[in-house]
């Protein structure tokens, strides 16, 4: 059985791809939106009777469901396969450490590109603790989000396109996490970017959605360019693309050399790992490349839920973790990772306090949590023996992965819940909600669990993973980072419960019509409560097994008892503060404080004007200062030269054309003149 699962592990990728292909080629367009169809057919005078229209409408009501159901069926199969793969991996690889010292199994390997005898790139399926964990997370969340989307998207004319793109995304993301070499990962990395782009711009009639999708694509592409350079640097030195080779200590030793770049001597290892991290920097939306993520909330909420919180944005964290043995040798890079992570964590949390758009709050919260994961990776290198050596304690590593796991579930659920609220209120604005507790009880209680989890309250899943991260920061001696993490935890609890109270408590602040809980949607939300509550059980499993190859087991050196107590107290005080301000769903008290803060509040609410700074840099400096002169040069000098050639030829053509005037007499006259000339010349 396990043998079968391993040898056919490519099915994991085939199933979502199949779903995409089936929907696109077979189901999509089969049942068109009757309104749209009517318009076209009426133009062609093909519809005369209302019976036909009714039939088409019925078809439509039935039809897209088929696409959704097909997607769900295949997603279910895929989730089952993912679980089977995880079980088989657990039983056969983890249980036999003597056979698999690195806990790594490349169970499918296909020669893909043969560059030269020394350099080949394979397509493979690479199973190790983190990729198996990601497989489970992605397939499960994909399934639940697909189910949720049946309810959420049921009135959308592009219902089937949505499911096709979701399947494409699932395929790409799974391909990314199981990549056995860095080139394959880059391919899927870009595929993920493309599917994200299409899904953010799903409602392409909205200019803001189009702008957001462009922004996301350009920002991440900007980062990916550096990633590609990093890939080339590393692969050139290591003569291989395989992660197994790249993660060997020999590769790090090979890279650990000084080169002179311009006139600045740099360490090649630091440079290469920084460049690779730059890819994750963009994908995980770390400061200052975070600007695309809040805007990406223009996409449908299920998309935000799966792509922009649970899976794709952790690709940066995943990449860092995947290459961690190499990163761990590059102290400078880890410092950068740690700094950027912690800064983004608190930066985003501060902004989230002031936002009014429910999805944007969650987006900034995602940024903040991604910051947690990254700084956890940044502090992961703790020497047990007080020196750099093979015996490293990678608690930060396992903690980061643990947080990826727990965060995926509760953040996905928060988004789905937010989607349910938006669906009910038809607005993203928090100030338009309120008093929904009575109307949406299931959502209320589920979201309460998620908010408690993200706030880090015992015994919800977030408590355990945050505790592990804080412990890692503490043990590694990075006290500033630890402090930032602690404070951010309080802020997180505060803004999440601000959202929670404002949405559910008090009185409704806008007129609500026909608020109900869609069964498809509620099912997913409630189902996600289970991992949110229960993920804490995996703490020891993660600490024990989630270890980068070559690094030692994580060891809770000393776990001071005051740490969880302090963390919980901070979280509870955040909740208490939120209760104090917004507990009854009112904002008067908060408004007073806002007056008091004045310009500081303005600064924060405008997200520290980062977008404006970008616009200034791009429009004023790059476009006008560099782009415009270059454009002038291109238009006038380069194009001018080309145009001149063209003009000369055109002029020649025009002159020749004059001869071809179609006038018989002109032709004859010229012929006669030519004959006369010949006569004079010849005799």
């Amino acid at each position: 059985m396990a043998e079968f699962i391993f040898t056919n592990s490519y099915l994991l990728l085939i199933l979502p791809l199949l779903s995409f292909v089936i929907i696109v080629l077979w189901l999509a367009g089969k049942y068109q939106n009757p309104a749209e169809l009517d318009k076209t057919l009426r133009c062609q005078n093909q519809i005369n009777d209302s019976e036909e229209t009714q039939k088409r409408a019925d078809d439509f009501a039935k039809g897209p469901k088929i696409a959704g159901l097909a997607a769900i069926l295949l997603a279910t199969l895929n989730a089952l396969y993912g679980l089977g793969l995880a079980t088989a991996y657990y039983q056969h690889v983890l249980a036999q450490p003597e056979h698999y010292p690195n806990r790594t199994l490349v169970c499918f390997d296909l020669a893909w590109l043969n560059f030269s005898p020394g350099l080949t790139a394979n397509m493979g399926i690479y199973l190790d603790p983190i990729s198996v964990m990601m497989i489970v997370v992605i397939t499960m969340i994909s399934l639940l989000v697909n189910i949720y989307s049946i309810g959420y998207m049921k009135d959308d004319p592009a219902f089937d396109r949505f499911f096709a793109l979701m399947s494409l995304f699932t395929f790409s993301m799974l391909g990314l996490v199981v990549s056995s070499n860095i080139l394959q990962m880059f391919v899927f990395w870009e595929l993920v970017g493309v599917s994200s782009y299409t899904l953010i711009g799903f409602w392409y009639e909205k200019p803001s959605a189009v702008a957001a999708s462009k922004k996301a694509f350009i920002v991440t592409r900007f980062a990916d360019a550096f990633f590609l350079i990093g890939i080339l640097l590393v692969s050139f030195q290591a003569k291989s693309f395989d992660f197994l080779t790249l993660n060997l200590p020999e590769t790090a030793a090979l890279l650990n050399q000084s080169i002179v770049l311009g006139s600045v001597p740099v360490n090649l290892l630091t440079l290469a790992t920084l460049l690779i991290f730059a890819g994750g920097w963009g994908k995980s939306a770390m400061f200052p490349l975070h600007i695309w993520l809040p805007d990406a909330m223009e996409g449908p909420t299920p998309v935000s839920s799966i792509i922009h919180s649970a899976t794709m944005v952790v690709a940066g964290v995943f990449l860092t973790a995947r290459m961690f043995p190499l990163f761990s040798e590059a102290v400078g890079t880890l410092a950068v990772v740690q700094f950027i992570g912690s800064f983004t964590a608190i930066f985003a949390a501060i902004i989230a306090i002031t936002q009014r758009d429910i999805k944007r709050i969650l987006a900034f919260s995602t940024l903040s949590q991604l910051g947690y994961m990254l700084f956890s990776l940044g502090v992961a290198k703790i020497s047990l023996h007080g020196e750099m050596g093979p015996g490293l304690n990678s608690l930060g590593y396992s903690a980061a992965m643990y947080h990826v796991f727990t965060h995926a579930f509760f953040k996905c659920m928060l988004f789905l819940g937010a989607g349910a609220l938006i669906h009910a209120v038809h607005s993203n604005d928090l100030m338009a909600m309120g008093g929904l507790k009575r109307l949406m009880p299931k959502t209320y209680w589920s979201l309460l669990a998620a908010c408690l989890a993200i706030g880090g309250i015992f015994p919800f899943s977030g408590f355990w993973s945050k505790d592990a991260i804080l412990l890692a920061a503490l043990q590694s001696g990075h006290y500033v980072t630890f402090g930032v993490g602690l404070v951010t935890g309080g802020l997180t609890a505060f803004y999440m419960f601000r959202l929670f109270f404002l949405a559910f408590h008090g009185e409704a602040r806008s007129e609500l019509h026909d608020v109900h809980e869609d069964p498809w949607m509620t099912f997913s939300i409630v189902a996600l409560t289970i991992p949110t509550l229960g993920a804490g059980l995996f703490e020891h499993f993660f600490a024990g097994e989630m270890v980068a190859s070559g690094l030692a087991y994580a060891d809770h050196l000393s776990h001071p008892l005051w740490l969880p107590v302090i963390a919980s107290l901070v979280g509870i005080s955040g909740i208490g503060l939120a209760w104090g301000f917004y507990g009854h769903g009112r904002t008067e008290k908060a408004d007073e404080w806002r007056q008091w803060f004045g310009p500081v509040y303005q600064l924060v609410q405008n997200k520290f004007y980062i977008d404006e700074i970008y616009l200034f840099i791009t429009h004023r400096i790059i476009f006008q200062g560099i782009g415009a002169p270059v454009k002038w040069f291109d238009r006038n000098i380069v194009d001018g030269a080309m145009n001149l050639c063209g003009r000369i030829l055109q002029l020649g053509g025009k002159m020749v054309r004059l001869a071809q005037n179609g006038q018989l007499q002109f032709y004859l006259g010229v012929t006669v003149l030519g004959l006369a000339a010949l006569l004079f010349l010849a005799s």
Partner: protein
């Protein structure tokens, strides 16, 4: 005597030909062409080619020119078709080009005087109708029966072709005429 007659006929021929190509009224032009052909026939007689002269009169004047007159009358009504004047510059250009051609030809012929041109004393015996008829139908080495037959086929083909071309094309409807639409 012969020389004077030749000069008179030649100047008449040139004059009529010039009139034929330059008279604004086509009908007048065709009539002066008839005159020119008559003069040419006279020249043929001077060259002792009576049969050619007769053929000239019968074929050209009796056939082709009459045919042309009919067409002129059919398409332009009394030949006064020149609604658009021919510009003087065009006339000048045409005159220039044809003069250049004339002098080119003269120069070409005059610059290399061949023996043929210089030896000017030989005169052929008059060609009788018998000779021509026999030569045309002779199958011998010097007979012209093959070109003769080919010419007759050519005439037939031209006849059929003319009918086909001039026939009203049923696939094209014309916007003028009596307003009736043609149907196949």
């Amino acid at each position: 005597m012969g020389d004077y007659l030749f000069y008179a006929l030649a100047s008449a021929l040139v004059t009529f030909s010039l009139l034929a190509v330059s008279l604004p009224n086509l009908l007048h032009g065709a009539i002066s062409l008839i005159a020119a052909f008559f003069v040419t026939a006279a020249l043929y007689i001077m060259l002792q080619l009576e049969f050619v002269a007769l053929a000239q009169i019968m074929l050209y004047i009796g056939g082709i020119i009459i045919f042309m007159l009919i067409i002129i009358l059919l398409t332009t009504g009394l030949g006064v078709e020149n609604r658009h004047k021919i510009s003087n510059s065009r006339r000048l250009a045409g005159a220039g080009v044809s003069t250049v051609l004339l002098f080119g030809l003269l120069y070409a012929i005059g610059s290399k005087p061949s023996t043929v041109l210089v030896k000017d004393k030989y005169r052929a015996a008059p060609v009788t109708m018998d000779d021509i008829g026999l030569r045309l139908l002779s199958t011998g080495k010097e007979g012209f029966v093959v070109p003769f037959e080919i010419i007759s086929i050519l005439l037939l083909v031209a006849l059929v072709g003319a009918v086909v071309i001039a026939r009203r094309d049923s696939s094209v409807t014309y916007s003028h005429g009596d307003g009736q639409k043609e149907s196949a």
